[in-house]
Amino acid sequence: MRAFIRETSSVVFVPGVNCDTDQIIPARFIKADREEGYDQFLFHDIRRDADGALDPDFPLNRPGAEKARILLVEDNFGCGSSREGAVYALVDAGIRALIAPSFGDIFCNNALKNGVVPVRLPLAVCEALADHLAANPEAQVTVDLAAGLVTLPGELGSHAIVIAPFARECILKGLDDIEMTLTYMDRITAFEAARLTDVPWLAR
């Protein structure tokens, strides 16, 4: 995993409450191997019209949008299917952080595993940021994971980033949690032996 310490970037607002992972990446694309690059699938259907042409009004299709490393999205972003392809698509498109009032649970875990930082901010702050971006599309936001702060443009101030401390540590160091867990193997094995004695039908 690529370490994330801090990132300053312009922000694109992709509206839509309950934006589910089928919108982020339609199911028909998730059989692709990761090596093919998932950025081509990001918001595939909703950024195009019925004939497959890019919709110039979709926020990520506007000129300059490709520079953004941070997206502002709405409530319950990434709900629905557990497909990690939704996060692969964001990562491969260069997105490193997301700001929303709330995220889908599994999506949030998937993001953390891939070094993408989901930043939860109150609805009113998100709305104010959306308004600010409408008037100042080049405005910069800094997500500083090391300091645990996100700094918004204009008068919008700085806000704490609340994420699970263990996940934060892994992302800051670019640590791989499988390797870390393997260092606890003695305790896992001991626990497992007791569990299999209690529940002998577990592994036959």
């Binding site: 409450v17 309950n18 709900c79 629905g80 595993k113 499988i178 867990t181």
Partner: protein, 475 residues
């Protein structure tokens, strides 16, 4: 003298969590032991991950592979797949399972089916277990008193390699459904009513326990349906305390305890229900008697209303977020505010998915269809090959065929349209599945979620129809 302290009352969720916590990291996250991991074709990313690391599945006997998302429903050979790319998914799955030494139920297996239908059926799902699967509807399996939840591919690779998972404990919510369900009202209607009430994000960060008279009186099939859609309210998982209904269901299933072990198992499972006085972070109560057959009008599962209702006016919603979303939904669904849902013309019917394709669901639909004909294209995709065989034996398959339904093989099929079974652009589909998202059943497809009995009623009239009226003999 040591003072005698009464142990604190615990929820079922806390009991199962505590029994699986290997250690707690100073940061607050817990390393949980995973009893069983379920794999489907989409898990190939996780396999690629552990192969890259030179690892193998650590506990292959606690991993079960089941082909469901991509399987063809017209035939049982990989070459029956809709496209070569889909065929490749099925073959890769078999190859990965063999490589990992994992027991698996492939396309042609008698035990094949949708993972969340097969796991309870085979006794893979049992009370008190922690069960994960890289599929969000893993919450289904909590109906047996298990802690079952969906994970992503990175987490799945972690489970394959270590049989554990780092987790932060969710908060707990109890949903109590009292009263009694009316005629024609099913578990699907209960859970749609719940989601409509609390919203698609309403249970975000929670583990739900379903309780109350209505839930106690439900069969395991009905409880599976309710727990299945917990995720549509953003819950981490759903669960129902095991009781006599559960024990009767579980006994004798293949991967469960043997008869010699039964008393030991029972003694453990009887300890699982939440203690009296256990506190939940949030309590929700629903009056089951007041629930009507439900149907969705929009593109989020919380866009659900009683079939007697009308398409809402976006302006009627309190929040600006919801007003915008509703307006967009109506445009996509091609609906006008104020239109009565009862009577809305549909183009096809899909009876299937891990929400509603178990034997009871097929019975409920067949009871409505008996002696009648579908007037729109309709298909039944049984939740598992065993359900399919049983439906054949009970004569249900014949009722479906006589009514003009296509009688397919088991799989996810049109629920997620990944195997090539798709709803056409602009088509309106009455579906017993769980998601009415934009494009979920195919690009441009319009989904109305409802129960199996309601789906059967819609097939007969070609319109969304209050099944209670049909049952009384009218049309």
């Amino acid at each position: 003298m040591v003072p005698v302290t009464k142990p604190a009352a615990r929820t079922m969720f806390a009991k199962i969590w505590d029994a699986h916590e290997i250690l707690r990291h100073p940061s607050g996250q817990s390393l949980l032991y995973v009893d069983r991991d379920l794999i489907h074709e989409g898990s190939f990313h996780a396999f690629a991950d552990i192969k890259r690391r030179g690892l193998q599945p650590r506990r292959p006997k606690q991993i079960f592979g089941i082909a469901d998302h991509y399987v063809p429903t017209r035939g049982r050979r990989p070459e029956d797949a809709a496209t070569p790319a889909i065929e490749r998914m099925i073959r890769t799955f078999d190859a990965n399972m063999e490589w990992g030494g994992v027991r698996h139920f492939g396309l042609a297996s008698q035990e094949q089916g949708i993972v969340h239908v097969v796991a309870p059926e085979q006794g893979i799902t049992l009370p008190g277990l922690t069960i994960v699967c890289s599929d969000s509807h893993t919450s289904t399996q909590g109906a047996l008193g298990a802690m079952a939840f969906g994970i992503g591919q990175s987490e799945n690779a972690h489970v394959l390699a270590t049989q554990t998972l780092w987790q932060v404990s969710p908060r707990t919510m109890r949903v109590t459904v009292d009263g009694a369900l009316g005629t024609g009202v099913t578990a699907k209607d209960v859970v749609l009513a719940l989601i409509a009430r609390i919203g698609a994000g309403g249970a975000g960060g929670y583990a739900i326990e379903y309780a109350g008279r209505v839930v106690r009186n439900l069969s395991i099939e009905g409880r599976l349906t309710i727990c299945n859609m917990s995720i549509e309210a953003a819950a981490r998982l759903g669960m129902v305390a095991p009781d006599e209904t559960t024990f009767r269901y579980v006994r004798g299933r293949h991967f469960g305890p043997t008869e010699e072990e039964w008393d030991l198992a029972l003694a453990q499972w009887q300890q699982l229900p939440s203690d009296e006085g256990a506190e939940f972070d949030t309590e929700i109560t629903l009056d089951g008697s007041a629930i009507a057959p439900m149907v969705t009008w929009g593109t989020s599962p919380d866009d659900a209303v009683p079939i007697t209702g009308r398409v809402p006016d976006p302006a009627s919603f309190a929040s600006s977020e919801k007003r915008k979303a509703a307006a967009k939904s109506l445009e996509y669904m091609d609906l006008t505010p104020g239109t009565p849902l009862d009577g809305l013309a549909i183009d096809r019917v899909f009876l299937g998915s891990c929400t509603n394709a178990r034997i009871e669901d097929l019975r409920a639909a067949a009871a409505v269809l008996q002696g009648r004909k579908a007037v729109v294209p309709a298909m039944v995709v049984p939740g598992s090959t065993q359900v399919r065989d049983q439906a054949e034996a009970e004569g249900l398959a014949q009722i479906f065929r006589d009514a003009g339904f296509e009688w397919r093989h088991s799989g996810c099929s049109m629920c997620a349209a990944m195997n090539g079974d798709v709803v056409g652009r602009g088509e309106r589909c009455a579906s017993t599945s769980n998601r009415n998202f934009v494009g979920r059943q195919g690009p441009g497809a319009r989904t109305h979620l409802l129960s199996p009995a309601m789906a059967a009623a819609a097939a007969i009239t070609g319109r969304l129809t209050d099944v209670r009226r049909l049952a009384e003999g009218g049309a």
